[in-house]
Amino acid sequence: MSQQRALELLRQGVGDPAANFHTDQWESIDAIVIQRCRLLCVQRTGWGKSSVYFIATKLMREQDHGPTIIISPLLALMRNQIESAAKYGVALGTVNSSQSLEENTLNKQRLLAGQLDALIITPEQLANDEFVSEVIIPANPGLFVIDEAHCISDWGHDFRPDYRRISRVLGNIADTPVLATTATATKRVVEDVVEQLHVEGQEIYVLRGQLTRESIHLQNIHLPKRSQRLAWLAHIIPQIEGTGIVYATTINDAFLVAEWLRSCGITAEGYAGSIPRLSNADSAVKREQLEQALLNNQLKVLVSTSALGMGFDKGDLAFVIHYQSAGSVVSYYQQVGRAGRSIDNAYGVLLSGDEDQEIQNYFIREAFPKQELVHSLLELLEEDSCNGLKKADLDALLNYAPMKIKAALTFLIAEYPTPIVKDGPLFKRTVNAYTMPVEMIKRLSERKTGEWQEIQAYLREGSCLMQVLAKALDDELATPCGKCANCDPESAFGLSYPHDLGQKAVEFLGNTMIAIEPKKQVGNGHAQAASRFQEYNFPFRLGDLAHEQGAALCHWGEAGWGEIAVAGKRAHVFDPRLADACIKMINERWQPNPMPTWVTYVPSQNYPKLVKGFAELVAEKLGLECIEAVVKVNQTEPQKRMENSDFRCKNLDGAFEVQNVKEGEAVLLIDDASDSGWTFAVIAALLRRAESGPVFPMAVMSTKSN
């Protein structure tokens, strides 16, 4: 019965009456549907795991089992997956946070009414108790599919707390088949995942195929400066036939590189988990458009953070180039392994540069919440009278960035037994005693450092690169690949690029401009506005008191102006070239309208000469008057120590007074650095109250991190 039926479904699903199963595909379906076991499938991208789980779902539904729940971290190309599932006769839906509320509600209803055969969700949703009680439990699922299963293992390169919950839950239910899939796993990770998913009374198997791809030509190139790598990319990419992906480590870098490539005539777009200036929902739509554009060959290059991963599969991807180093050999392989699935020759180049170490250090530091934050958070929730606090309350009471508070909450909720639980909008303390798992955190941080050293070694590797990668994955490659830059140096890319392209890149980096968006509101309502500004009493909607769009010249510390600016701050005087650069930015890129007729600046109690001197210089070069219109009347804490809006506003409240304003005249308001923009917002509002014309804020540096 089943094998014949399964083959029918395969042929129907791929639209080819002569199609046959790849190695291990039928065995996987058999293990799940007929033997009702647990299976860990370690297979490279493109092997066809979705065929396996769609067919398994269809067969199980035909036997009256409950629907399949598919757990996957990031949802690429949902629309395509839904269409693909339909070809197998599987009605697939999804519930996730980037979809609209209406769509989510509709999908939930359809699942409960038995109209959906499978539902894709993210691991975070399994942590959502309400979702579990109201949707998953009543649906009585017949099969669980865990995508990117290596995330379960804390031996893996991508360990995620929410995945721990999955293995606990699955540990409670013997008899239910589980299919776990991954395209990257070392032996140690496989062992670990198997142990976590193992349940007495149910067999668990591993089916492992070869992970390495023979068609990829690997190469490592060290180019210390960003401008060098930008020039190299612009030079080489047009010479490669076909489409590809460039990976960057940060969102800023991804969009910067995309903009650069476009300025050189290459069709490129940036891609990240959250697209700058777009809401969650709009980001999701945009991401889908970008993925589709690359699939349709409407783009030459997609420049992305690691977000472009799971689920994206383009058979003829000709190159995967890393603009900056990956964090580990395994994640490098996972990304570069996207290339060359169904073509004979593809290129995987790993560029490395000076900034890699600092970026990596940042990620290692920020991977887990700090003990002081967790301690303060739990203390608040533990108070005798506390019956739960909302996120907004926690933000107001804790001097930490909202994102960090959110990360701490996510981390704590995934702990077991958990110290906190979410009940509606409220976070509550449970009875469980709690200490941070310092040992585990230390171990994981050390492992991350070890992985970093491993990839540093890979970058210096002299022998066959493919063999090194294969070994790191416990995939044996018996003989050298013969294709990589070490095996066949003749075939490798050169390191050089035209000199003027290099110049152009340097200029491009120097011509940056970072927008400073005006804040339209000082709070989410009258109450919050009043609590933040008890002295200034700003209306919660600023209206006319808001400033115009402002600009910063560079990112704090970044190559080029950023480094010069940081040095200037330390020396208490800015290099005059920065003034020229700012003026160039004003005239060529920013072009404030109406052009300011006077200049003022933000007074500093710790750096009195720095900003004043700079503002006077800029004013002189622009031929404008510089007026000391803003005066500090209260001592305050350094604004940079204030970690969230509530603290920032309260620190600024009543701190300044304005004088000698030129009424009705547009003004350039200068500061050395801008982070959240509250200082500009507050001072601009005061200037506007004193009848000044439009206010144009300008900072030398932006310290907003991304």
């Binding site: 439990i137 009543p138 540990g171 239910t176 193992h198 349940v199 958990t418 509550k428 009875v431």
Partner: protein, 336 residues
């Protein structure tokens, strides 16, 4: 006994799983869904299983054999219903994980940690499962059940607090329902005075387990809260009435602070206690409550606060008599 190893945490034996599948909801009941067995239905079925040398876990391995022999005299526990409720493993796994995370544990009748007093009294209608949070060991302490309505005046409030404080002083455990009013007053007063308490709740154990008022005492091991209903059960009058018997039977003595004749849970519970002769009943004297008066007239022990530095509470309680002169059979066989 084969064991499901949940490597992060608990061992749930087949037997515990089977008992849960038979008797517990895991989420809000849907309209046409098969319902798990009530305590009474469970009792009936479990007795039959025992007689035929089966255990609940047998249902997981010998289902066909069992249903071929079983026929419910009341016609409610059908083969289809059993098959449906036993098929809820995934739902059970998810629900258990959710509850365990916040510190809720499960005990069944076979466990030594199950309240033994209650089991002796109720026998085959003792609930198959209790969910709970806090110090399990307290469940064997017996003590004084304090019972009364949700609305109390300041006189009754002071009375209740005084009793509870005296109980704490004399190391007498308080048993109550954790509801607003008399229950909460008695429990909190005892806990605040360093005493212990058992709270038997009729609904929403999950919410209660994270409520600030109990948290400190749960963490300090002074308090245990249990429920025979699943942790997310909502309030229902039926459940509240049903759980009253668990309050009486977990204690050695009971004290009614305020009852209205003929209506409400307090009255119904007291009547039930007397009909079944569970524990000696005390009733607050000098009360205008109609129920108090009737109960006292029908033989309940009168109760008044004493001003003495001696352990007067202990003395009063041990001098008590059962309301009905009939004695109960003492020869009980311990059931599953």
């Amino acid at each position: 006994m084969s064991v499901t190893l949940n490597n992060q945490n608990n061992l749930y034996s087949d037997n515990v799983q089977a008992v849960l599948l038979l008797s517990t909801f895991f989420s809000k009941p849907k309209k046409d869904e098969a319902r798990p067995l009530t305590a009474i239905e469970y009792g009936r079925f479990a007795r039959w299983l025992h007689e035929f040398n089966y255990t609940p876990s047998s249902l997981l391995h010998q289902f066909d054999e069992i249903v071929s022999k079983w026929k419910d005299p009341k016609g409610k526990i059908t083969e289809d219903r059993l098959a449906d409720i036993l098929d809820r493993k995934v739902a059970m796994g998810l629900a258990l994980e959710k509850w365990q995370r916040v510190g809720i544990w499960v005990i069944t009748r076979q466990d030594s940690e199950y309240p033994q007093l209650l089991k002796k009294q109720l026998r085959h209608i003792s609930p198959p499962v209790f969910f709970g949070v806090g110090n399990k060991a307290l469940l064997q302490n017996g003590g004084l059940a304090v019972i009364g309505s949700r609305g109390i005046d300041s006189i009754d409030e002071q009375f209740t607090q005084a009793i509870a404080q005296q109980a704490a002083k004399e190391n007498i455990n308080i048993v109550s329902g954790a509801a607003r009013g008399v229950d909460e007053t008695a429990m909190l007063a005892s806990l605040q005075a360093g005493g212990t308490a058992i709270g038997i709740v009729a609904d929403s154990l999950l919410k209660v387990a994270t409520a600030s008022k109990w948290r400190k005492y749960l963490q300090n091991e002074q308090l245990v809260l249990i429920s025979s209903f699943y942790p997310e059960a909502g309030f229902s009058v039926g459940n509240a009435m049903a759980r009253n018997k668990y309050i009486y039977t977990s204690a050695n003595f009971a004290l009614v602070v305020r009852a209205d004749e003929g209506k409400g849970g307090t009255w119904a519970g007291a009547k039930e206690n007397n009909e079944n002769n569970w524990v000696p009943l005390f009733v607050k004297q000098q009360s205008d409550a109609s129920g108090n008066i009737v109960l006292l007239n029908n033989g309940a022990n009168g109760f008044e606060l004493q001003q003495s530095s001696d352990p007067w509470l202990e003395q009063i309680l041990s001098a008590a008599k059962l309301t009905n002169a009939n004695t109960k059979p003492t020869n009980l066989s311990l059931l599953e």
